[in-house]
Symmetry: none
């Protein structure tokens, strides 16, 4: 049974179901439709096969109020979208003189294969969507109770046509809202399952949530209810997990640290062992990072810690490279040898080898230092080498941010 | 009506139908299944919704003999794959002690959320597919007349599990060609469209190909024909694009450089400006990198280039930080200040700002140095900040590898 503001996306092309090309339309169109308040019930890649494609369309017009089809508008016999939509709508195909003129115009007098005439056809009663970037126009119209919008397959044709024509059409017909009814937040250093538990516990009537896992954070959205209720759910979650790990908006850890650095008017130097350059990479992912990121040292070997950071060899011998003393010496050394106002250092055992009973894989020390002050914190992370490294980078960025803000960060970080 | 060797792919996740993340599994699995002789009848992205997901599975087991499901195996209530497959098969869920032990082992004694117990469950009678790269095992079994294979959603977990277990399972059950009938290669620094053109041009009868795009390379597979024909196609491709850009096997650039460093018995120091730590990160992604990676300097600001690498301030003033002189000074400075036998340096304009008429965005200099010898090469890269940075890292790794091998690398790199 079709609900209001439901949508389905069908991408036609055997090259998609043979894995020859990567579909990107489902993501693009789903993101656009979701922002307009539609629930996308499915995205499908279907081969250029009459039976499979017809069946897919028949199902989509039952399940959704809007069906967007991409592809299948070329001039060859494989291109079935026109015929299949016309058949589903129970109307014949109709030739459009002005579309044919536009196609001939694109060929600028060169001889035009007869098969291209097909591209000037559309189901009767379906207005065309003129395509300034290719030969095939799109079209739209009703099939049963669904609005079907057919767009050309090449991304360079589909995206402009969607933006300039199709999106406006849908907004008008469905009185669609914008992205205003969603509250976005970010969760840092919280395992997915623990975040979900916390989200479930913070139940506010009418507010639902979704999560998005990235390499450096989990973003979450609170939807439904009204603005006040979404704000209440967010506040509950913050009380539950703490203001260091729950942030307003969709924010990368590097953005949060950059903001703190800008606020304090200082630049950052990084001293990385186990993360091997990841801290620097994340800082410089952001355009304009020159203003806040001074540079760094990847002190991967012990010799690098000694020669590039001035860490005392006796510390490394006595306490080891993964120790409070070593990571503090790394932070202080980086601060002294740079022109930066804040240093962050991280040293840990990322695995899969190198762990001991005393210092198992996942043991990580991070430190932050500024003139006359330095603090170190120990973490125990689970997971693969990749995960331990990413968690180490996030943790040390948050530590640097907290240190800069003068917060009682040791309490905050104690139970991670 | 199900035909032999028909397959369907279902990707579960609301993040897919909200356009938050890009699905890549349909392409990967379709390519693999097509190469094994399966006809993929559809690929679907379906939200974490019980009704929609169940309906999708019911339809897939009617239309295809093999149904591959990705995702929905996490610990949260959104993760529905286990329940939905069990229900479709008409069996209850069963708890697997050995899977639970493996999950606990991954958490290394830390407290484990109760919700993770769910990940040790599978439909009764469905053998598990142990997942060495994550907590959630996959599983497989019959639903009506279809073999259903459920795999974890993260690509870093799905792909190895597919390759090591699921593909072999299908090859055996359907008498399909296995992994032995595939020749894998890697293409570096070649745009996807140029690689496809080259692959098309190197047509050897009966040999088909597929590609897989990663952040640091494009892997490609040659399938069909016989061993001799696949080798011939590979040789043609190498002749066309050159032996630096086409490599045997699926190899990361960091692996190739690591191999060259091991062979020469030297360690590497990196001096990075525009890549900001990415070179170091890629080197240390590989376990055991301590043996070949000494460490590095992220000389992002000019002051860092001067203070940490000893670059003469007059060079930066006269020629700029993105110049042959600067990048050579960076490489030589890193070599001198480290205990490493080989240095690689990279400095460029990654954008989006900072370009000039003379040095547009995408202008990148890379250099490599060892005792008594240094060479620099200029590149002009197209694309986003992220793409320019990744291309810079790959190019400088290949330069270091070629420099170490004593190849006439300037000729090789001249027309990139």
């Amino acid at each position: 049974v079709s609900r209001p503001r439901t949508a389905a996306v069908i991408c036609a092309g055997t090259e998609l179901t043979e894995g020859i090309i990567q579909d990107t339309h489902v993501r693009f169109l789903s993101s656009e439709l979701t922002a307009m308040g539609f629930t996308v019930v499915r995205g499908v890649q279907v081969p250029d096969n009459r039976g499979l494609f017809s069946e897919e369309l028949a199902r989509a017009v039952k399940d959704a109020r809007v069906v967007v089809i991409s592809g299948g508008l070329g001039p060859t016999s494989d291109d079935l979208t026109r015929e299949i939509v016309a058949e589903a709508a129970g109307v014949p195909l109709e030739f459009h003189d002005e579309a044919w003129a536009a196609i001939k115009e694109r060929f600028r007098g060169r001889s035009l294969p007869e098969s291209n005439r097909k591209q000037a056809m559309a189901p009767r009663g379906f207005p065309l969507l003129a395509n300034p970037n290719g030969t095939a126009p799109g079209f739209y119209g009703m099939v049963e109770s669904a609005l079907v919008v057919a767009l050309p397959g090449p991304p360079s044709e589909l995206r402009p046509l969607w933006t300039s024509r199709a999106a406006a059409l849908l907004a008008e017909r469905f009185d669609a809202p914008g992205a205003a009814d969603v509250l976005w937040g970010t969760s840092l250093m919280v395992p997915e399952s623990a975040l979900e538990e916390a989200l479930r516990d913070t139940g506010v009537e009418g507010v639902t949530w979704g999560t998005r896992v990235d390499e450096d954070r989990i973003s979450f959205s609170l939807r439904g209810g009204d603005e006040e209720r979404r704000a209440r759910a967010f506040k509950d979650l913050t009380r539950h997990l703490g203001p260091v790990r729950i942030r307003a908006g969709d924010r990368k850890p590097a953005e949060l640290l950059t903001q703190a650095l800008r606020g304090a008017g200082v630049t950052l130097v990084t001293a990385e062992s186990c993360t091997g350059g990841l801290l620097g990479k994340w800082m410089t992912d952001l355009p304009g990072s020159t203003a806040v990121y001074w540079g760094g040292i990847v002190a991967y070997s012990n010799e690098a810690k000694i020669r590039l950071l001035g860490v005392d060899a006796r510390i490394l011998e006595a306490a080891g490279a993964v120790s409070e003393q070593a990571v503090l010496a790394m932070a202080v050394g980086a601060l002294d040898r740079s022109g930066a106002g804040l240093a962050v250092a991280v040293s840990g055992i990322a695995g899969p080898d190198g762990g001991t009973a005393e210092k198992p894989v996942g043991t990580v020390w991070a430190a932050s230092a500024r003139q006359g002050d330095a603090r170190a914190v120990k973490f125990s992370f689970a997971g693969s080498r990749d995960l331990v490294r990413r968690r180490s980078a996030v943790a040390s960025m948050l530590l640097a941010e907290a240190f800069l803000g003068g917060k009682g960060f040791l309490d905050t970080f104690a139970n991670w």
